[in-house]
């Protein structure tokens, strides 16, 4: 028994619940029997992957759903053996090059080459190209991205690339220009609510639209999260009530906790404690940019407008540095220190005014 989120995933372009016009466009694209490289981007939980799988099914038929996992081995120029897990069907192969860290270039070059250099023998009734799906393209190293752009052109006859990214800001323009970029925006809250109700109906449960909306709000327009939360709600309490407590993800709670610590006291000692919390977040694999975003959201609650701008700009500054740097904790801490300094000054001034 899978979780709802996987159990009720649509498998056909026609069955997609939102962005239906986009689905239609994709369908027409595929029906032309050929399509360019795709760069699909959008926030997580918007249905990128689902959409791509539907597209492939449209393209090759149900054969693409016969998946298998393989471990592939590569050797880096420095003679280091690396292995990477791939998911593939007869018609496509999906890989997550960032799994191997800085050696992703080797994976991209070798994998795409081996796939692309082989033609389909039985091309009757089949497409003459295969599809390579690369996940998390925005996290690829620059080297890998550069390696990609030549192969994209060279093997265009035998293989199509579908690149998946959260944001294209870190994808080099050379790749962007070679692909048809498809943005999959996050579903609106209403869309999520309707999906939730649909799912509940399938599970033969009764979900009020109010609660569905509340869950959608909580889930931050992330359909995956919304579905998981909805299921968690069901586990917690069924039948649903109107004002039921929606379990928030632990890490969000943790970030909120951290932010309230910062607001409660501004001192070097407190900063030291906050550092431990930040470490904990990082250890648990929460992407540091999400930590930044979460903290900023919580911290600006108590600020006036001028200060809000100031804090936001600092958050942006340190997040930028974090991307350029090695150790996220340094930058998170610098941001907190800065905020503490500003906030304390602000408090003192306002106190001074009061007296």
């Amino acid at each position: 028994m899978s979780l709802w989120v996987d159990k009720h995933r649509p498998r056909d372009l026609a069955k997609l619940d939102f962005h239906k016009d986009q689905a239609v466009r994709l369908k027409s694209l595929v029906q032309q029997s050929d399509f360019p490289h795709l760069l699909v981007y959008g926030p997580s939980g918007a249905g990128k992957k689902t959409r791509i799988m539907c597209l492939l099914r449209e393209l090759y038929g149900s054969g693409v759903e016969r998946l298998r996992q393989e471990t592939m081995h590569f050797t880096t120029p420095s003679n280091k053996k690396i292995e990477i897990m791939t998911v593939s069907s007869n018609y496509h192969i999906e890989v997550n090059p960032t799994d191997v860290g800085i050696h992703d270039r080797v994976v991209i070059m070798d994998l795409v080459k081996t796939v692309a250099q082989t033609h389909q023998i039985d091309s009757s009734g089949q497409r003459e190209f295969k599809v390579v799906i690369l996940n998390e393209v925005d996290d690829l190293t620059k080297d890998a991205q550069h390696a990609l752009r030549r192969t994209m052109e060279k093997y265009v006859a035998t293989c199509r690339l579908i690149l998946i990214a959260n944001s294209i800001s870190r994808v080099i323009p050379a790749i962007k220009s070679r692909c048809l970029t498809i943005r999959v925006p996050a579903p609106t809250e209403n869309e999520i609510a309707s999906v939730l109700q649909l799912v509940c109906k399938k599970e033969s449960l009764n979900l009020s639209s109010e609660l569905a909306l509340r869950i959608a709000k909580c889930a931050d327009r992330n359909l995956r999260r919304a579905l998981l939360m909805c299921e968690a709600c069901k586990v917690q309490q069924y039948p649903f009530t109107q004002d039921q407590k929606i379990p928030e993800p632990d890490w969000q709670l943790f970030i909120k906790e951290t932010a309230s610590m910062v607001l409660s006291e501004q001192s070097p000692k407190k900063l030291g404690e906050v550092r431990q919390k930040l470490y904990e977040l990082i250890i648990h694999g929460i992407p540091p940019d999400m930590i930044f975003a979460g903290l900023l959201k919580e911290l600006v609650h108590n600020c006036d407008m001028a200060m809000k701008c100031q804090v936001a700009s600092y958050a942006a500054k340190y997040e930028h540095r974090m991307r350029l740097g090695n150790k996220p904790i340094f930058h998170l801490e610098a941001f907190i220190a800065k905020f503490m300094a500003i906030y304390k000054k602000f408090i003192e001034e306002s106190m001074g005014d009061a007296f």
Partner: protein, 1060 residues
């Protein structure tokens, strides 16, 4: 004999400066050295001489009588006759022998020995004179006046030392003629000490019974006049006497019990007083006067009580500065007791008992201040004194014109000393002695010229050598002697930059290696090992335990000498080999030592015979030797491409070698040496102690005429990390540049060198934030703190900057911290740049951002303990969780769509709950449900634990605790029973090990089929289905499919294993 005296000056002084203060009263040391050495010789001479009884008699008389009295006793004309040629001839060879023995025994300086031998050979030519002199010497001491009167005696004195002796005689005679006061005046420079000395000597004279001792004392006195620098040596016999005296004095003070008790009480009271005593009352009231350098030489101080205006440390420093020494306990070595308020009564009484001068603080300051003045005056004074001496002399001994000359030469000595500070005093003495000698010689032939020359000497000191030359030309007879003398004299004086000091003063035999004298020394061990090597090979010894102490290494075929550079490893080996007659085949880092080379070249070489002896002209069996030693120097340098496989081959070589192998390395604990050390006899060289190096260096400095204060030298040695070679190099640099040789600058230099002490990251980070240290640090010094360990420093700073209490207004603290944090974050950017682009030139920039700026912003002090950077631990933990997550992601990939971070953010909690909740709620009934979830996501049992680890946050309860342990066990059991097909290979099983045959696998698959209800999950079935199509359709996918099979079979294999 006479040469001995001279020659013993040098090395004795330089080699054993430590021993100098071995015994009691400091006198001018030259004398004492002479005493020691002369004793045996003199005895011989005395025995040989006909008038043994005679001398004894006189000596006895003289012993009993004070000086003035002894004089008339000594005046006997007889003795002159005794110095005839005949008896002296006999003694000559004896003298020579004894000389050689003592010298080689005591001196380890080869060069020196050589020169001695040369002189000896010359001396053989001059036999009669020497003999005569020997006799004369012995006699003259007893019967000064008589000897003075005998021109013969002196005329024959040709070798330099002879001259000294004669001069000594003269002085002694002078002294006798003069009153004590006179002598005091004469040696105003050392007035007090000398008075002491004289008194002591007189005292001793009384005690001494032996003739020779008596003689030596006379000489001591005379040498005191010479103002030689070599510090104190007591001749043994006299010291014994003294000790006896002390003992008796102690015995006398045996106390009754009551007295003892009283004394105890008293001392307790005193101790209380001592504990509560105050500091200096007028601290800083007086200024330490400037004295001339070395003005306190030969002075040993004992400080007691509280001084009026100086801290004890200041005084100690001052004394050390002026080359004095400070003693902790009272002994005869102490020359002055510097007493302050509440001086220890025990010390004072003892000082009185020993007749040690007790001085106050003011006296002490006066001593230093006077030294400056007196030094300037001494020469003049000496002149006048000596003039008067001369007069006296001329009055008394008009018969001998030589007296004059000798006296004048003494004046020369004094004169020269004061201006010529560069030369150590002893050298000048030497020089002068030789010049004296020359003069004496010259007088033999030509008196008139002589006087002129002496005048020249007086005028131009520096040309003394030249005048010597002239002398030598003028005196036909003694040219050889003089030239020898010259050679000897010149050697130490002029600085030869021709050869490096390191080479020049390389030890020539085993004994000269610094710090390798003891029985347990490495030299000894190595010698022992090498000599027994061939024997041990036949013996077949068992392998010793690695903890065995003092093992002689019999088992090992190779020795590994390890130790820091510059302690003499290579030297030791070469000398030991030389000594044992082994042929050294040396390979060092400059040779390529890779596998093939070692195997072919070296291996070959070791089986061949050496013909090196042929080259030396040996014939017969000795010429051909098989005694090789393979010396692999700097084995830790055997690395890299060049020497590939070298170490391994070396080990092989050691295993089958037929000759001893000696390896040398710096760090035996390094990774590279790991394998080698197991095959080698371990000899570890430690750094020699500072004083060991110091004494050797002093001797070299002395030979090179470089004047270095002892404390500066020891600082230098410490700064050079007790590296002998380094110290020598530094010294030779100083010697070349006279500006550098300025003592004060040397002091400063050594201080700057001292700074290069390695700091650990803890101390470094403390310094980074220390406002105190910042005051004295330049920006370079601050950034240097970063470079002690540039990889750890930024982490340390980041970890600890919050603990700093900055010295600033309180409201600024947060501002400053945020600035520091900002700088640290910038530092991280630089770090990334450095690491990713190998832009190491950016390190200084990083130093600024990561260390200097935060340190500057938060200058204060670190309030807490310095913590080790937590980042490292956190990072590795983050890495671990990432790995777990990646594994889960990989396992669930077929059924989920999210990326890795979606596992972290969304899935893990829900997945965990989906598995755990049924177990908690429904107990064993929920097992099926939770297993279903596991299966549908292709998760392993272990993944559940990973999930829990991922999803539990600090402060949260682990939900698995709520599961009944029985349920948990039951769940694990059922999980193991139900073998689910996995679409991937569980990571723990090695590839290729479980290659099941096709049928078994098919069976499994068939049995699995009904279980897999979800068509999406049964990847294996699909694969099986696709297999046929793959085979027909695409050749490309075959490898993938074939790969797939074993992997799935592995999954099953593992399951099977679990079932069992």
């Amino acid at each position: 004999m006479s040469r001995d005296i001279r020659s013993f000056f040098l090395p004795k002084k330089s080699q054993k400066p430590k021993d100098e203060d071995d015994d009691i009263i400091p006198e001018s040391p030259d004398v004492q050295i002479k005493n020691k050495k002369k004793e045996p010789r003199k005895k011989r001479v005395i025995h040989d001489s006909d008038d043994e009884t005679n001398t004894k008699k006189t000596s006895l008389v003289s012993n009993k009588s004070p000086r003035n009295k002894s004089k008339p006793d000594l005046k006997e004309v007889k003795v002159v006759d005794l110095f005839g040629n005949a008896p002296i001839k006999r003694t000559e060879p004896l003298v020579k022998k004894s000389k050689k023995q003592t010298e080689t025994g005591i001196h380890s300086d080869d060069e020196f020995e050589k020169s001695l031998l040369e002189i000896d050979s010359v001396a053989v030519g001059d036999k009669p004179e020497i003999k005569q002199f020997d006799g004369g010497n012995s006699e003259s001491n007893h019967k000064d006046t008589t000897t003075l009167k005998t021109p013969k005696n002196k005329q024959k004195a040709k070798s330099p030392a002879k001259a000294v002796v004669t001069s000594a005689k003269q002085n002694y005679a002078n002294k006798k003629e003069e009153s004590k006061l006179n002598s005091k005046r004469k040696f105003s420079e050392f007035a007090e000490i000398e008075v002491h000395n004289e008194e002591d000597n007189i005292k001793r004279k009384k005690m001494d019974v032996s003739v020779c001792d008596n003689k030596t004392k006379v000489k001591q006195l005379s040498e005191d006049n010479d103002d030689a620098d070599v510090s104190t040596f007591e001749d043994e016999s006299s010291s014994k006497h003294k000790k006896k005296k002390v003992n008796t004095s102690l015995n006398e003070s045996v106390l009754t019990d009551e007295e003892r008790h009283e004394r105890k009480m008293h001392s307790a009271a005193l101790y209380q007083k001592y504990l509560h005593r105050s500091g200096p009352k007028h601290l800083g009231a007086k200024e330490m006067p400037e004295g001339s350098p070395d003005c306190l030489k030969n002075c040993a101080f004992l400080l007691t009580g509280v001084l009026d205006s100086f801290e004890r440390e200041e005084i100690v420093e001052a004394i050390n500065k002026y080359s004095g020494c400070v003693k902790n306990a009272i002994s005869k070595k102490v020359t002055h007791v510097l007493a302050g308020e509440d001086a220890g009564p025990a010390k004072m009484s003892k000082a009185l008992e020993l007749g040690i001068k007790i001085i106050s603080e003011d006296d002490f300051l006066q001593m230093i201040a006077d030294s400056k003045n007196s030094k300037n005056k001494t020469s003049a004074k000496n002149d006048t004194n000596d003039d008067t001496n001369n007069k006296n002399h001329s009055n008394k001994s008009k018969k001998s014109p030589k007296d004059k000359s000798v006296d004048k030469s003494i004046i020369d000595i004094k004169k020269e000393k004061s201006p010529k500070e560069k030369h150590t005093n002893v050298t000048t003495v030497k020089e002068e002695k030789s010049s004296e000698n020359v003069k004496v010689n010259a007088k033999n032939s030509n008196k008139s010229i002589n006087s002129g020359e002496i005048k020249k000497d007086m005028k131009i000191d520096k040309k003394s050598i030249k005048t010597e030359k002239q002398d030598s030309e003028s005196s036909n007879k003694n040219t050889t002697v003089i030239s020898d003398v010259k050679r000897e004299d010149q050697k130490p004086i002029h600085i030869v930059p021709a050869s490096m000091w390191v080479e020049k003063y390389k030890p020539q035999n085993v004994k000269q290696i610094i710090g390798q004298h003891g029985d347990a020394s490495n030299v000894k061990k190595l010698t022992n090992w090498l000599t027994k090597w061939y024997v041990n090979r036949k013996a077949k010894l068992p392998k010793p335990s690695p903890w065995a102490k003092n093992y002689d290494g019999g088992y090992y075929k190779a020795a590994l000498l390890s130790g820091p550079p510059g302690v003499g490893k290579t030297t030791t080996v070469s000398l030991v080999c030389k000594e044992l007659g082994f042929d050294m085949v040396e390979y060092n880092a400059s040779d390529t030592r890779n596998k093939t080379l070692i195997k072919e070249q070296i291996g070959e070489m070791l089986t061949t015979k050496s013909l090196s002896a042929y080259a030396k002209g040996d014939v017969g069996k000795q010429a051909v030797t098989k005694k090789h030693v393979l010396v692999m120097d700097e084995v830790d340098g055997m690395a890299g491409n060049e020497d590939r496989g070298g170490l391994q081959e070396l080990i092989n070589l050691i295993k089958m070698t037929s000759v001893p192998i000696i390896c040398m390395c710096n760090d035996r604990n390094s990774q590279k040496m790991r394998s080698l050390v197991n095959y080698c006899y371990d000899l570890r060289f430690n750094r020699p102690r500072v004083d060991q190096i110091k004494s050797a260096m002093m001797s070299i400095c002395f030979k090179e005429g470089l004047k270095v204060a002892p404390d500066v030298l020891s600082q230098l040695i410490v700064a050079a990390n007790q590296d002998v070679r380094q110290t020598l190099n530094l010294l030779s640099m100083w010697a070349v540049d006279p500006d550098l040789a300025d003592t004060d600058r040397l002091r400063k230099d050594t201080k700057t060198v001292k700074k290069d002490i390695k700091l650990g990251p803890w101390e470094a980070v403390r310094k980074v934030f220390s406002a105190e240290d910042h005051k004295s640090m330049s920006i370079h010094d601050k950034s240097d703190l970063f470079f002690y360990d540039y990889s750890l420093a930024p982490l340390f700073v980041q970890e600890n900057y919050l603990q700093v209490a900055p010295h600033c207004p309180k409201h600024e603290v947060l501002q400053r911290i945020s600035k520091a944090a900002d700088s640290i974050s910038l530092g991280d950017l630089v770090d990334k740049r450095i690491r990713s682009a190998q832009a190491w030139s950016l390190l200084p920039t990083q130093a600024m951002y990561s260390s200097v700026i935060p340190g500057h912003e938060l200058a204060g002090h670190v309030a807490g303990q310095i913590q080790f950077p937590g980042w490292l631990g956190k990072n590795s933990r983050a890495g671990k969780l990432h790995r777990l997550c990646q594994e889960i992601h990989a396992h669930t990939r077929l059924s989920t769509s999210g990326s890795k971070s979606s596992i972290f953010l969304d899935y893990c909690t829900h997945l965990r709950d989906a598995i755990v909740n049924p177990l908690i709620k429904d107990k064993s009934d929920g097992i099926a449900k939770s297993l279903e979830v596991l299966e549908s996501y292709h998760l392993l049992r272990e993944d559940l634990d990973s999930l829990v680890e991922l999803s539990v946050w600090p402060g949260q309860r682990n939900p698995t605790i709520l599961i009944d342990s029985k349920v948990k066990a039951a769940m694990t059991r059922t999980y193991n029973k139900t073998s689910s097909a996995l679409p991937y290979a569980p990571g723990t099983i090695k590839r290729g090990s479980a290659r099941d045959d096709q049928e078994a696998m098919d069976d499994e698959e068939l049995s699995d089929q009904p279980e897999d209800s979800d068509p999406e999950n049964d990847a294996l079935i699909k694969k099986k289905k696709t297999k046929e199509t793959e085979k027909s359709s695409s050749s490309k996918e075959k490898p993938g499919a074939s790969k797939e099979k074993p992997s799935s079979s592995k999954g099953k294999a593992s399951n099977k294993a679990k079932k069992k």
